[in-house]
Amino acid sequence: MHLITSFALLLQPSVEDILLEKQRLQHNYEFLSYGLIAAWLILVVYVLMMVSREQKLKKEIAGLRAMLEEKH
């Protein structure tokens, strides 16, 4: 009986094991957040590029229209 209790105590995780597991979980969450931030950042940057291109196109079209009307 005493032998079984000692063996069970040996199987219990040590403080170091718990700290390592905690570190692993934090590392996991850290990289999950990096992944999500990076994915959304790429899409947001693309949308911003699109908005800026749209504004540039509108400005150029308006400028050319004004120039053509002046020539007429």
Binding site: R24, Y34, L36, A39, L43, Y46, M50, E54, I61, R65
Partner: protein
Amino acid sequence: MRDKIMYGLGALAILILINDIIHIMGLPDEVNQGAIFKIIFFHVPVAITALTAAAVALIASVLFLVTRNFFYDALAVAVTEVGLAFLAANLVTGSLWGRVIWGVYWAWDARLTSALVCWLLYAGYLMLRHAIEEPTQRATFAAVFSIFAFIDVPIVIFSIKWWRTQHPQPVFWGGGSFPSDWLPYFLWNMLAMLLIGAVLTMTRLRQEESQRELDYLRRLAHSM
């Protein structure tokens, strides 16, 4: 009307995503991989959206070559550009997952390499368009290039079946073990990503129309 549909679809996609993200964050960590497994809710939907975009670009390119209708050329460029952004998001999320599970950001296995080649091919398609001035020649060359680039898409999809890869087998077919009660959240995310892809394509398509109007006005100004 088209603007209203676009804004409506965009708002719907954002609402689905917000609701889905709240639910996904509440799910327990996966037994073997832990929290990082949840990246699959974004990694796979963005990949499927990117490959759907490639398929649409292929159809639009073939239709352009058959009909010579410039609408299809505009659709091909719009959908390719959007697909490229989604594929970039796929590569980055996959790389970060690899860092945790494999210990490295990148491995030159068949799936990763073919996906990177796919990204480079479609980036090349956009660069080719910038290099050719004449619109008909540009559209024809780009359509042929897009059809050629699509050859890589089945290689990306089936690379994990055809070769022994470090990349895991699919979790939904081929002996995967995706928890069945997580599937609805995955499918909602899939729908949201496809909706975002569609809205971005419609926006980009409108810009192509504006670009054509601008080209017409420039020609008119030169001829005066």
